[in-house]
Amino acid sequence: MSVKLLFEHLDKPGIRNLEGYRSHGGYQTLEKALRTLKPDDITGEVKKSGLRGRGGAGFPTGMKWGFLAKPEGVPRYLVCNADESEPGTFKDRYLMEHIPHLLIEGMAISSFALGAETSYIYIRGEMMYVYHILQAAIDEAYANNLLGSNIMGSGFSLDLHVHCGAGAYICGEETALLESLEGKRGNPRIKPPFPAVKGLWGCPTVVNNVETISAVVPIVRDGGDAYARIGIGRSTGTKLISASGHINNPGVYEIELGLPVEEFIYSEQWCGGITKGKKLKAVVAGGSSVPVLPAELILKTAAGEPRLMTYESLSDGGFETGTMLGSGGFIVMDEDTSIVKNLWNFTRFYHHESCGQCSPCREGTGWMEKVLHKILAGKGTRADIDLLWDIQKNIEGKTICPLGEAAAWPVAAAIRHFRAEFEELTSQITEPAGQV
């Protein structure tokens, strides 16, 4: 049985309510932090734990906290990014829905560590029912002096607000999220300045993912060293993986980083193998924006090593033969899946979600969708495959925010690993179409 830190008590009855959460040790870590630890001690533990951002980029959380500017007389903010909308990723929703107090406790401890007296949870607009669950939990916490002024008599005060987005994927990008939180159009800001210096309302701000902030609770409870002992190398601790697609047991799993991918897909404890006994074709390992990998490359690296669920192992080989752990949206595709159709679906999503601010993403995402649609309609040519490659190359790295890359990477990977499938769907014509 593997270690569970976030989901340890997930199946206990009443864990969603304050009473149930407290009967399993809930808010004891907050009490410990407020009574016995200094803010810098907590940041120190987080640094020691090696915790990395669970939203997708995998940036070391302790280091991010360390970058926070602390000018005198200027408020600081902690913002929790709960705008989870990457296709294939649904771990944060599951966590907030079932164990909302874990996030609230994590927010309180992290706010104390960062010296924030007002904090926000920015939740995706489509998850209205989760918003109500969170708000109810926050009300309970306020009523029991776990939030508000002078928490547990410690002298530390925190106001925690939940803010509902209006349903834009782009608002999961941290600066677009801050714009949206300020009541503006959710457009990413041009960086620098980074939020750690100039974030919400121009004040220093830390933006962290739901899972990252929740993981602070077990880190402070057991110590950073204990957390760092789980996992392999620089991939420490546990990670929530939302597994979907053609597997027998789809769902959200908490795994220890370092689990072999093969075991994760085929073991009864986890995904339980491919449905109807079919063969594995491809896996998108970290949410729709990371490169898709064919079966042979997801199970073993190009060097023949078994692929592990860690940041390093999954990205082994770069984008030529590797992918990314990303946000943990693990999408499995069986042998009957059309990669081109799947890609079109992803591209359609990015076209719809592009904010329209910078030209390569605004124009390129729509163009890629149209070309893929043409190929799927049987009207494509070989030249269209090269055109797609050119378009993704012209988007990648030219945009304000990572949405450009998120749209470009899946296209590049699909053509790189499954070009034959594109060729099957297209005619032999190599002359590009287009207009004078």
Partner: protein, 332 residues
């Protein structure tokens, strides 16, 4: 003061200078094209991505090259930075990609567009574009709308540079002008087709790099290269009153601000941008309203500067050069 090298030219600049500003101090080939940056508008730039450059050395302290091309209008110069603009083939290819994106949904209706001849997109596509588009789908179209009785918005031509939004933000209190919708259907609009009713709103026309915002008092009156630009001024309480008049005979066809080599409004000695008010722009259409200073020098490499001779000497030089050329061609 930080030292920066752009395409082999090294110079020292003030702390906080952007790569684009430094490149403009050098001038010539080193200057990246810019469609959305506007020197007179705060926070402009960063959107169109045409001014991207390659930073082959980050700084003296951290000499690593920057992994991605950076927008030169937003990237501040560091000491020891080395930048490649036209000297990097990889970068030029990337810029051509950006230009292609800007053009796929542009109608290319230059023959009927008032901006033709002074359009930045026209220049950009001429210098960096392909002669044939690889885009074969239906282009984006919008209805034309009138924002107020003086300005026409033809969104189909817009490249979403956000300059007019910044004008509304920074010059027009109580703005009702912004961007609605998202992605490739995002559009510039006013609040429920409200009129933009502000004395400074006409500056939106001057900042628009394409023909999306045009002067309704000038629309279809004349091609710009048939008009005669002169510098003129009048005493105005609202604005600086320093303008360019575009004449046909004695008739004032239109009034604009005075634009520099980059198509951006000139600044006065105190560094103030030469915004002009709507009264000067739309209502003072008589020569008698103005004190004319003399012919306006158009040093853009555009078609407007053709056939404009500021002095008789210039005209003579040009005529004799053309004569020589034709004689040479005849002899051969």
């Amino acid at each position: 003061m930080p030292k920066v090298t752009i395409d082999g030219h090294t110079l020292e600049v003030e702390e906080g200078t952007t790569i684009l500003q430094a490149a403009r101090m050098i001038g010539g080939e080193a200057v990246p094209p810019a469609m959305c940056y506007y020197s007179g508008l705060e926070t402009s730039g960063g959107y169109c991505r045409t001014c991207i450059v390659e930073v082959s050395k980050g700084s003296e302290k951290d000499p690593r090259p920057m992994p991605k091309p950076v927008p030169s209008c937003r990237q501040v110069v560091m000491d020891g930075m080395e930048v490649k603009n036209t000297t990097s083939p990889k970068l030029l290819e990337a810029r051509a990609g950006v230009v292609e994106f800007l053009l796929i949904n542009h109608p290319l209706d230059c023959p009927v567009c008032d901006q033709a001849g002074e359009c930045h997109l026209q220049d950009l596509s001429y210098e960096h574009g392909l002669s044939k588009s690889r885009y074969e789908f239906k282009r984006r179209e919008f209805e034309k709308i009138d924002i107020g009785d003086k300005i026409k918005l033809h969104m189909t031509r817009c490249i979403l540079c956000y300059r007019c939004v910044k004008v509304a933000d920074q010059l027009c209190p109580g703005r009702v002008h912004g961007v609605i919708n998202r992605g490739d259907v995002a559009e510039i609009s006013t609040y429920i087709e409200n009129a933009v009713d502000n004395e400074m709103s006409g500056n939106m026309i001057d900042v628009c790099p394409v023909g999306a915002l045009t002067d309704r008092t000038f629309r279809f009156k004349s091609r710009v290269w048939f008009t005669k630009p002169v510098n003129a001024h009048r005493t105005c309480e609202t604005c600086c009153g320093r303008v360019a008049l575009w004449l046909s005979g004695d008739e004032v066809l239109r009034v604009t601000g005075r634009k520099d080599a980059y198509g951006e409004l000139e600044k006065d000695a105190e560094g103030r941008t030469g915004w002009i008010c709507n009264t000067c722009r739309f209502d003072k259409k008589n020569e008698a309203d103005w004190t004319i200073e003399g012919p306006r020098h158009i040093d853009r490499h555009s078609v407007i500067s053709q056939n404009h001779y500021e002095t008789l000497k210039q005209l003579k030089i040009d005529i004799s050069r053309q004569k020589k050329l034709s004689e040479k061609a005849h002899n051969e």
